[in-house]
Symmetry: C2
Subunit: 220 residues, 2 copies
């Protein structure tokens, strides 16, 4: 009984994700699903990313949080197309939340060229839910330690890009960048890896260029 229900829920999410993918494809919107632990630097990186890309592209953001709209507030200087989802306790976003926004609540999100989703800060549950994104991005801050990819493999396995964040703190913590990169390559050989720091800006340009190349590929 329990398994049956779980399967149904997962099946429903898969269908919603496929619907989202279709509608985003029709509108030529690149959707980027960003996930990582609480405090790994998702919002800070988004600030730096929007700052660099907003002069060139129409950008939109769906902000996922359990409570508060603080992150959405931080991103407002860079785009007016921001929608906050408050899950009120739920630990991940699901495809039907996104579908509801795209088709009913906020269809203007489809005018964007790149739509960023900041998922709930959680290295476990969001990884199990396809939202219909073009690309999934997982953040790992150097302060979390380089054992995390081995301990939370799904988030790193099923992702297209891994961002090693807070590089500015590398000298103060026990994080082996080389070892982490090797571990990540074993868990996920297809993913690109970008070490960067939103604070100093190191590596942010490379990440932004990569997003631009994805958008160009999609629009071909």
């Amino acid at each position: 009984m329990r398994v049956y229900l779980a399967k149904n829920l997962r099946e429903a999410n898969k269908n919603s994700a496929a619907d989202n993918r279709k509608i985003l494809g029709e509108h030529g919107v690149l959707m980027v699903n960003m996930m990582g632990s609480p405090g790994c630097g998702k919002t800070s990186l988004l600030e730096e990313t929007l700052k660099r890309l907003s002069p060139k592209y129409r950008l939109a953001v769906i902000e996922g949080d359990l409570y508060t709209a603080e992150d959405a507030q931080r991103l407002k200087p860079w785009t007016s197309e921001i929608v906050q989802i408050n899950t009120e306790g739920a630990c991940h976003l699901e495809a039907n939340y996104i579908g509801h926004l795209l088709t009913q609540n906020s269809p203007s999100l489809l005018d964007a060229e790149i739509l960023f989703i900041e998922n709930i800060g959680n290295l476990v549950c969001p990884a199990e839910f396809d939202l219909g994104e073009d690309i999934r991005v997982t953040l790992l801050s150097v302060t979390e330690g380089n054992d995390k990819p081995r301990k939370y493999p799904l988030a790193f396995k099923e992702t297209g890009a891994i961002l090693i964040t807070k590089l500015d703190l590398l000298d103060y913590v026990n994080f082996n960048l080389e070892r982490a990169t090797l571990d990540l390559k074993i868990i996920n050989e297809r993913s690109v890896i970008f070490p960067l720091s939103a604070k100093t800006g190191e590596g942010v340009e490379t990440w932004c260029n990569w997003l631009e190349s994805l958008l160009k590929k999609k629009r071909k």
Copy 2:
């Protein structure tokens, strides 16, 4: 239908937690449930805690991880009573896992005076599951940012102690200790708050003394 099932599951967990609490009470074991984000420093603090308390008390640990037994390995120098739970993807521990260990798989855990549980690294889901602990402890590292208590309130609301960890990194990050403490007091006025650093040892003694006082209270 969905709600019905969810309620049943939560009810079952509540009953298991009550069973655990009863058996722990009969054996005079103080159970401490430690939770926090991935990389917030749970294992590092446990190392320092076991190091200080193991000469005086019989200690045991239940290590919760999705995968690997790396954390359990790190704690082995300080106690032989360590059981690893690998949830293989599940995002939190439930009371019946602990009950199974206490009554069937590893009853020698009940010989301990303090039994630590290191929950899955996740600031969301573990907070919803009472394990039958005497005290719940939530860790928040200064690298995560001081907006986290407002954004993940349940983990900070339903806890008896809040440990602000990685104090050694305070100078390098944008974390306002005073603001965080005020926020925490609003969310949870009953909880004690211990700022500390497992790396430098600052504040660890105070935390250990507090655990000792809880044990003494329980054994009275």
